[in-house]
Symmetry: C2
């Protein structure tokens, strides 16, 4: 089947999911978790094929590590699914209930999306995660992973399909693209008839390509040029650990800081302490003039630096004259992901929280907290950087839509 | 300025709106309503230019009527704005507030979209309506109307711009495209940098073109192939008025019925009564075999009939064997807008309400109620037929997004 035929089949299968009781959905997910562990050998064998092919094509070590599945990672996938089982049902929640002027009883309830398309890269464990989240949210899914992880993703998907079949559910509720061509993938991304939502999971280029080519509604995820602003009234005992944590704890992820903004009234010795600590951790500094004057090893920033997402141990540092200039800088160069002010001045904190146009705005805490689990969502399918539908970390609820149900007694207008 | 430059200017102006107090927003809208009335002559003069040009180009009577503005219609626009003033502020509503595991205090609050692009056709009163709704929701807007209504829209927009300026707000918060070329409009629809949301308001072709060409998140509105299903257990005293109302009260709108599905157990005489009443009202019937057998004047439906949105006094009628076949028909041919079951059987009603995948699903009431005002939203910018972000009638709240505000005390991860 090509990807469009798969989407069509998934749409058909999604009808059955629409009213599937939560007890059945949870039981099937528990069976899925167990089956992943009992079939670990099969998965590892399939993954071995992917690994051999990838090695032969000269894939780098970091990529190979992402691709690899072993007993421990499979247990991790299974435990992840068990965590999804524990989450509340996101469906059939009554958001509003009222009698409207005509006398009709109106109920606004959460309902499934229908068919969710997910386009991702080489990590095969994304497959299990997406299947679990979409299925729990009552939606069918069509997964399109990187070609290099196809055998691994196939093995995982087939395990769920078998469980669906045993439970009298169409196995088409979970579809895996069979190494589709670029043209096929492009057609799929435009297929509003069968696909209700498209989520890209991966690097910048993947996301860019999906956003540029899709006609299906997309949620843009990921890109994070995050800022920390140290205000004049900052408590340096908070500022230093926040800065180090935001940059160094996991520089490769989207909620890591890329630019540090420092109020001009911060003492040189305090800024030097921060820069030195960053150097000790192995961070390279890209600074404006004021910073380069204090730190001879800093590279000079140019216009492009401020909008660069390094995802690495590199940090832009800029001195600004006040909170307004910090806000303006973030407005110009940020990606509306996560930004932080460190200050003891409540007015400046409020100004920053109200005016910075980002999904997550922090006062005196590291931007690294932007995460579905940290926010208590119990899951995360991505971090939205757009304003439509979902913003910031997306959990199960963000994978649902709503509908109006209206009960009357013969009312006409 | 071209449309992209206008969007950029609107984005800049939107920063100021983000924190503009509701009392100021409301006062400015009241001034806007008053100014429309006091400047009615100027608007009517500008509209006269549009009308003359349109007549010269041979525009039809119905279109000319849509284009026309007079004292009464201007008063209608002003009163519409005064109604928007009365609505609750959709901004700064706390959707959730909790302390997350790290000890950070999390607040999820409604925030403005930023810049909303609206692409519409020839009705100039849409201008005042969109300005009022977007401004109340704290967003700047960029309006691109039909070329034929440019002078009228310009006059209305300029009145708001003058009020903005008097109140110290950048007049760029409301932008009207200056008869942009197709290429310019296409570039605007792809401009994710400055436009946060795109709403097409108009006919099928306009909506199709926006959905096909936009890279900015779009809300698809409008298309409505709505169904009414008369179940075996229907009370005919409810069914007849609902059918007549759904088809005849305003056949040109998206919530009007296009297809009537009738359970095969409905008596011939009851169906004949319905068909005859429809005929009396001037409705042409397009029927399946069973219907054509009962009604010699009915045209024979073909496959394309079932997915046609007539927006006219034409109705498809089909006999189905049960509620499941009715649901399957709606799944295949519907547009997920509004669908109704007429029945006294609670089980069939529940089945229909749960399984029909439409924004608004009715039990014993006319689909014509799908409307922002009828639903008590106090406004309506469109009726969404997609599942992302907003579904069904969209009011002020649907023009907002949300953001997380997190207050810590030096927390790191």
């Amino acid at each position: 089947m090509n990807l469009i035929e798969q989407a069509k089949a998934a749409k058909k299968a999604s009808v059955q999911l629409r009213t599937l009781d939560i007890s059945i959905r949870n039981r099937m997910l528990e069976e899925f978790a167990d089956a992943l562990e009992t079939n670990a050998e099969t998965i590892i064998e399939a993954n071995g094929n992917d690994m051999r092919e990838a090695e032969q094509r000269g894939m780098g070590t970091a990529m190979l590590d992402r691709l690899k599945l072993d007993e421990k990672r499979i247990k991790g996938m299974a435990d992840g699914i068990r965590d999804v089982v524990k989450l509340d049902d996101p469906l059939h929640i009554v958001l509003e209930e009222k009698t409207i002027a005509s006398g009709i009883r109106l109920k606004k309830v959460t309902v499934p999306m229908g068919v969710i398309g997910i386009i991702f890269e080489s990590r095969p464990n994304v497959t299990a995660d997406c299947i679990a989240l979409c299925f729990k949210a009552g939606s069918a899914c069509v997964l399109k992973g990187g070609k290099e992880s196809y055998a691994s993703c196939r093995a995982i998907t087939d395990i769920f399909k078998a469980i669906a079949e045993e439970n009298g559910i169409s196995p088409d509720c979970v579809m895996l693209g069979e190494r589709p061509s670029h043209e096929e993938t492009a057609a799929f991304m435009s297929c509003r008839e069968y696909v209700d939502l498209l989520i890209p999971r991966g690097g910048k280029n993947l996301i860019r390509s999906v956003v540029d080519n899709a006609k299906v509604p997309v949620i843009e995820t990921g890109a994070g040029v995050c800022h920390t602003f140290i205000d004049a009234a900052a408590d340096m005992a908070k500022a230093l650990p926040i800065v180090i944590n935001a940059k160094c704890s996991r520089p490769s992820v989207c909620n890591a800081m890329e630019t540090l903004l420092v109020h001009e009234k911060i003492k040189d010795e305090d800024l030097i302490t921060i820069l030195n600590t960053l150097h000790e951790k192995g961070v390279k500094i890209v600074g404006d003039e004021a910073v380069c004057r204090l730190d001879s090893s800093a590279a000079a920033a140019d216009e492009a630096s401020w909008s660069t997402e390094y995802n690495d141990m590199i940090l832009n540092v800029r001195v600004v004259k006040d909170v307004q200039e910090a806000i303006a800088h973030i407005e110009t160069y940020g990606t509306h992901h996560s930004d932080c002010i460190v200050t003891e001045d409540e007015n400046n904190a409020s100004l920053f929280l109200d005016q910075v146009d980002s999904a997550c705005v922090y006062h005196n805490a590291s931007t690294r907290f932007t995460d579905g689990f940290e926010f208590g969502l119990g899951a995360e399918i991505g971090i939205s950087t757009q304003k439509l539908h979902a913003r910031g970390p997306m959990g199960l609820r963000e994978l649902t839509s709503y509908a109006y149900r209206l009960t009357g007694n013969g009312e006409i207008r």
